[in-house]
């Protein structure tokens, strides 16, 4: 097998590789430390963004203004909620997963440009703080879409400018990170690893990175014009002086529609890993899943104006409807391929798997409502209503956030060396799953009934549905703390994971947990089919791996039962 220079049993090496908390607060060029820095920073912003929306939902318990002083304050709350969740939670959280996992999955020692990697991360905390500090200067209040002239001539607060500058910096960070991923994936794969032997998570990050480097410069351009209009008296978006408000909408959505895929494609990647590993079955249609990511990345650039079906010239609406509809095809391929993956497998309902299945079951609702809003005539009714709010939360919460949870439960053992508490994980899943559904599903009905989005006051007949939404949202918010508690609790509980507790074939598991400074002991040898479950070769590979690296959970916890073949599956319930 691999030429192992310093074979270290899993349990011992764990103690040697132990990192202190202070290591994570410093400048470091180790991709694993940067990955954790991304994730923890994002989690902090997740809590902030969640707290903001709790206030929004509290206000919406009644049809009249009560919690907030005026509509401006309400607008500031949801503007910051959306911006924080998109630019400071989902995007950097996935960047964290990518940073931690990509070099490991490729068998590399680090990212291609470690120093640049650290720079990209360290742009995020100051940008986030700058954005939040806008509170003291008149917080951004024009929605995360920031349509002029509302965001220019009619938003006097300097917070709006700070908001734009912060997003500018976050965009730059995102571009630098994406370039790093592309070069790493292109150049640093293990000896002999072809593109079609990479784990699908790597494909997800590759497609995402390609979108980021192509789309984010447009956001930067748009923001530059917006900032100039605000501070330098230019009139790019001021029709009274020859500007055009639709210019912003086109440029903004040319970035922000692909950004939806930036926010969900890494989740697709996580899902492919989790579903295959926890149902012990090969991914179904590897090439279809990998290539459909590229297809979505490409098609994603042709659909931006479906966000403008009620503002765009009527004659231009139909072409954008066609391209938007086509995207349903590669998305459908993925969904059915994942069902093909678990079908006939030996499914272990671990917390990671539950969140993976939760993703599949909820994301499909977002996909179906996505096709509905792509149809121009129906969109004329539901555009800018709670129907759309529901649609994109099914994609971004039911999709991205549930995928993040699945990913954390799946890779936490690798990152920390300890198993997460499964009982807490399952409680977390069920409360989140049910509260999620009752938070977002009734929003479809509110939109159909006639409730526009972004309103602080609404017609009294919508109150009962809004109450259901708000109360479910509070439960959903509280359920997050079970997860956060589990993250810390499992660190103290110290159930040693060992190198490969899920017995997975991808390379990140072919080393200690957590991995040593340069990831592998010697050159890692990859298994040529990362999803080759159920083959003799895979069993032999895993056996060899265990001989070299030591036992994994549950054997690490029950050494006296090593000889019992029918020990309870670690991954069962």
């Amino acid at each position: 097998m691999a030429t192992v220079t310093a074979p270290l049993p899993g349990v011992q090496s764990h103690e040697e590789n132990k990192l202190r908390i202070s290591d994570y607060l410093k400048w470091s060029v180790d991709h694993k430390i940067i990955g954790v820095q991304y994730m923890v920073t994002s989690l902090i912003f997740f809590v902030i963004g969640g707290a903001l929306v709790m206030l929004v939902r509290w206000e919406l318990l009644t049809p009249a203004l009560d919690l907030v002083q005026d509509g401006t304050q309400f607008n500031q709350l949801f503007t910051m909620h959306a911006t924080v969740m998109i630019f400071l939670w989902i995007i950097p959280m996935f960047a964290g997963f990518g940073n931690y996992l990509i070099p490991l999955m490729l068998g590399a020692k680090d990212m291609a440009f470690p120093w640049l990697n650290a720079l990209a991360f360290w742009m995020i905390p100051p940008a986030g703080i700058l954005m939040l500090l806008g509170y003291f200067a008149g917080q951004a209040e024009a929605g995360w879409t920031s349509y002029p002239p509302l965001s220019t001539l009619f938003s006097p607060g300097d917070g709006q400018t700070m908001w734009a500058i912060a997003i500018h910096v976050l965009g730059l960070s995102s571009i630098l990170g994406a370039l790093n991923f592309i070069v790493t994936i292109r150049n640093m794969r293990a000896e002999g690893m072809g593109y079609f032997q990479m784990p699908l998570f790597v494909w997800g990050i590759l497609a995402t990175s390609l979108i980021i480097v192509m789309a984010t410069p447009f956001l930067a351009g748009g923001l530059t014009l917006l900032i100039l209009d605000r501070v330098a008296g230019t009139a790019f978006f001021n029709p009274a002086q020859g500007g055009d408000v639709l210019l912003w909408q086109n440029v903004f959505w040319f970035y922000s529609h692909p950004a939806v895929y930036i926010m969900v494609m890494p989740g697709f990647g996580i899902l492919s890993e989790v579903l295959s590993a926890h149902s012990r079955k090969s991914i179904f249609g590897y090439r279809a899943i990998a290539l459909s990511s590229l297809a979505i990345a490409l098609l994603g650039f042709t659909v931006w104006a479906h966000h403008m079906f009620t503002s765009l010239m009527p004659s231009l609406r139909i072409p954008f409807m066609l391209t938007s509809m086509i995207i349903a095809v590669p998305t459908g391929i993925k969904i059915f391929s994942w069902i093909g993956t678990i079908w006939g497998g030996k499914i272990r309902l671990t917390s990671a798997m539950l969140f993976g299945l939760g993703f599949l079951s909820m994301f499909v609702i977002g996909g179906i409502s996505g096709v509905m809003v792509a149809a121009v005539p129906f969109d004329l009714h539901v555009h800018d209503t709670y129907f759309v709010v529901s649609h994109f939360h099914f994609v971004l919460y039911g999709g991205s956030v549930l995928a993040i949870y699945a990913g954390v439960y799946h890779w936490y053992p690798k990152i920390t060396g300890y198993m997460m508490d499964e009982r807490l994980g399952k409680i977390h899943f069920w409360i989140t799953y049910i509260a999620f559904f009752f938070t977002f599903f009734p929003m479809h009905m509110l939109g159909m009934l006639g409730m526009p989005r972004r309103v602080a006051v609404y017609a009294p007949e919508f109150q009962s549905l809004n109450a259901i939404v708000s109360i479910s949202a509070f439960v959903l918010g509280l359920s997050t703390f079970i997860f956060l508690y589990n993250l810390v609790y499992s660190l103290y509980k110290k159930r040693i994971a060992g190198p490969n507790p899920w017995r997975v074939l991808t390379l990140e598991w072919a080393t200690d947990s957590p991995p040593p400074a340069h990831n592998f002991h010697g050159d890692p040898v990859f298994f040529k089919n990362p999803y080759g479950f159920g083959t003799e070769a895979a069993y032999r590979y895993l056996e060899e791996q265990e001989k070299e690296l030591g036992p994994s959970y549950p054997y690490t916890m029950e050494p006296e039962k090593r000889s019992v073949v029918t020990a309870p599956a670690s991954t069962g319930d």
Binding site: G344, I347, M372
Partner: protein
């Protein structure tokens, strides 16, 4: 060896699916999709326009297909979890099946055909609803923070029968004699059954979106542009008009409301049964208000103030206004403290200047949101001195606490 050998007891590809199950599943999917498409549209408000009927039909078809796909996917997930869950103590793997080209082709082509059909159907519906008939009633819509104003034109041949030109103010009479139409404003959109209406929309400030949920139609107002929307009502009654594009602090209030007394306030669409009813109950009475303006400036002021978009932000019980973005106008004439604060000599002067230069008279605790109403016709937000004086006279009657 710790691990059992891989099991290959399931047939390759079909994974043990029998024809009976496929047929049963197919029936459940079709019936379920049908039921979803049957019951879900009842959530929608009643379809008030010809366009709404077409859009709802499209929605039904999408619900049927979407509902069927939903049941298919969730059903497959449930069956997988129940049937293929690892039994206790089973540490084995599933069969090594990397894919199935036929199956993958099916789930590529079938969705492709579905979205192609939906696209064609949507295009057909679009061509039927996106029409602007020349005979349509034309109404100009002005959106501003946070109210809608509807401007109706009246040419010489559209005046009320037996119009008494001797009572018409000189200015209006001169306009009519020139062959030009006169116009009046109203906070509601009136029309009649089975006749198309086209609204031409412009914004005074930021972007808005004109939405009538009952008509299923929506169109953004874009600063610096004029946009249009046409629909044909097929139901009589009142339909709420809503702003659907974020426009600032009072965005949620830029919509039709029902007051505590059950009166309609804010923007509503009112569909009369016949053109005759429209003319007699709305058009002629409203025209007569400007053709024969009251002599009493207070009455005149009470009438003309309703032509301006004040209701979106201000509360004024006398007129049923409930806006909250601006200061309450109930008892405004008694707030003598504002005179001292602004250095104005009389309440009349204070009210007059506050409307002409609102930015210099912002009441503490409120934002500088109010439009500046200008005295010249070529300026934006034109308010002639005659209107202003009447409005001030009316507001001076609003005393109390």
């Amino acid at each position: 060896m710790n691990h059992p050998k891989p099991e290959n007891n399931q047939r390759h590809g079909s994974a043990g699916i029998s024809l009976v199950w496929v047929i049963a599943g197919g029936v459940v999917i079709v019936v379920g999709g049908f039921l979803i498409s049957l019951f879900t549209p009842s959530i929608l408000p009643r379809a008030g326009s010809a366009q709404a009927v077409l859009i709802d039909d499209l929605f039904r078809v999408m619900l049927f297909i979407g509902g069927a796909i939903f049941i298919l996917v969730e059903g497959l997930l449930l069956v997988s979890v129940i049937r293929f869950r690892a039994r206790k103590g089973d540490r084995g793997d599933g069969p090594p099946i990397p894919g199935n080209t036929t199956l993958e082709l099916v789930w590529t082509l079938v969705p492709a055909i579905i979205v192609a059909v939906l696209s064609i159907y949507s295009f057909v519906v679009w061509n039927q609803i996106e029409v602007h008939p020349p005979e349509a009633l034309q109404v100009d819509v002005v959106g501003q923070r946070f109210a809608w104003t509807f401007n109706y034109d009246a040419a010489t041949d559209e005046l009320p029968p037996n119009v008494d030109m001797t009572r018409v103010p000189e200015e209006l009479a001169a306009t009519l004699n020139n062959g030009d139409p006169i116009s009046f404003s109203h906070p509601q959109l009136h029309t009649w059954l089975n006749h198309p209406v086209t609204v031409s929309m412009s914004s005074q400030d930021v972007n808005h979106a004109f939405w009538i949920p009952g008509m299923r139609m929506k169109q953004d107002l874009l600063a610096g542009r004029v946009t249009t929307l046409s629909f044909t009502p097929i139901e009589t009654g009142v339909f709420r008009i809503v702003c659907a594009e974020l426009c600032g602090s009072g965005h949620g209030e830029m919509a039709g409301r029902v007051t505590e007394d059950g009166d309609l306030a804010g923007a509503w669409l009112i569909v009369h049964a016949t053109e005759q009813e429209y003319l007699e109950q709305f058009y002629y009475p409203e025209l007569e208000k400007i053709l024969y303006p009251p002599e009493d400036p207070v009455l005149l002021g009470r009438q003309v103030i309703q032509n301006y978009p004040c209701a979106g932000c201000h509360t004024l019980s006398d007129l049923g206004w409930t806006g909250t973005t601006g200061p309450i106008l109930d008892g405004v004439a008694s707030r003598n403290a504002r005179l001292a604060a602004t250095g104005e000599g009389t309440m009349e002067a204070y009210l007059h200047d506050s409307i002409r230069h609102p930015g210099e008279y912002v009441v503490p605790g409120f934002n500088n949101l109010m439009l500046q109403f200008n005295p010249e016709p070529d300026q934006p937000n034109y308010m002639p001195d005659s209107d202003l004086n009447a409005i001030v006279a009316y507001l001076l009657t609003q005393t109390g606490s």
